[in-house]
Amino acid sequence: MSEDATMRGKAAIVGIGETTYYKRGQSPDPEFKLVLDAIQLAAEDAGIDVREIDGFAAYANDRNDPSRLMTAFGSKDMTFNNMVWGGGGGGGSAAVANAVAAVLAGYSKYVVVYRGLAQGQFGRFGQGPQTPIAPGPAAFTAPYGLLSPAQSFAMRIRRFMHDHGAEQSALRAISMATYRHAQSNPRAVMYGRELTEEMYDNSRMIVEPFHLFDCCQENDGAAALIVTTAERARDMKQKPAWVMSAAQGSDYRQAATAHNSPDYATSNFKTLAPRLYAMAGVGPEDVDVLQSYENFTGGVLMSIVEHGFCEPDEVNDFFTLENFSAPDGKLPLNTSGGNLAECYMHGLELVHEAVRQVRGESTCQVPDANVSMVTSGPMVQPVSDLILAADRGVDG
């Protein structure tokens, strides 16, 4: 890839903001107000007036229309607004990629990437559709009680575990690492709620092979971050988190309905991961810390394999609490607690944590973290990834 064709090091995340994270239904504020608060906090963190934000990038069918947001702020102009298709968390890093594209194309000066979720105010993701008829693709699943995300994804993971002899202990290690990291993070909803092996093993089954602790939370809150060009980022308030690569992808016919994607036991990162690393000029061996989207632990299992951190037949050895624990595990994972134990902010909180690692401000800081990576939305279409770095010259 020529230097001109890549975004590597040409833009940065310069501000992050998050509301208090709540259990579902516990936010005192409606979703729109939460988003306004998160964006204002991100602007404050970046050291800019919120009205300087002229671009908006979102994903997952976010309900909070940029035109209403910029009106609420009294902004003078909106130069860009954008939504990544796809209902899951797969658009998290892709929204950052779109924000980068907007500032590099010269459309916008400051693009905010945001996600608001009040599952108390609106519907719960963990519940099935309550409609009398399931039309189209849903007809092939819903009448059989195949309704929720957990139920949809368990079948992919079961097949992966069958193909590669993966054991429940691999899933448990992911859950335990996230909960361990949340114990250092006062923002985490599961702060103060330690998880032991025994608690995991004895927890109720949701859908085999997922125990309760393999599943993400349902929360209320909002998160926002601000992207701008390298030129502006250099002189701003915060240490820039340089975007080394950000991209989306979806493998061959992954959205085939009724569970018919030809490659089934996959997190859908196989085409994206090589492009991501090539753009950044790094490989998995260079990654200092990883935030990997956990809708369910099994998705992390396949994501980590498909990003080249371990071979599929080695997961039982590689997936240990020790390997995933900050500060000195082989691959510190989800160091804020992530979707399982910090907050299910549709994975945008994972990008915030990747920024904090680059700044040196995590509550589970990896010493001298340089290459800080995010994988967004396993098993959905599309998925996306992000590699941040503290040092723009990571590739020499």
Binding site: A139, F140, P143, S148, Q151, R158, R159, A256, H259
Partner: protein, 150 residues
Amino acid sequence: MSAEARSYLPEGLPRPGPAVDGLGAEFWEAAKRHELVVQQCRACDVFQWGPEWICYQCHSDDLTYTQVSGRGIIYSWERVWHPVHPALQEATPYIVVLVELPDAGNVRMAGNLLGDRTQDVVIGAEVEVVFEDKGEGDEAYTLVQWRVVE
């Protein structure tokens, strides 16, 4: 047969229907006749599932629904313990299987695995289709279910 064999899951779940643009209607009509059909391209013979408006392989829009044997292989499975719909409150655990159809290009269909809800499920086991008639009158429909071939 027991009542459970006639209706594995209780009434009250969403009932199946074609897409709003009509795609898939032939499948549900065939199921009512207790025939298992899969979409097939007349131009290149490839099977595809779920249904699409064109063939993914040759892009022909000359598609038909071909009856297949109803024999399949369990490709993956899950046992659901936590109900996520009011109709399922008393219906857990239940088993959902993903079945590959070797005589339809190995396309897959999801359904319930009838019988003991606590049975061991074996990937690779042979299953056969069971048509489960549900609902009444204008709301009658037939689900495509599976049971292990003994």
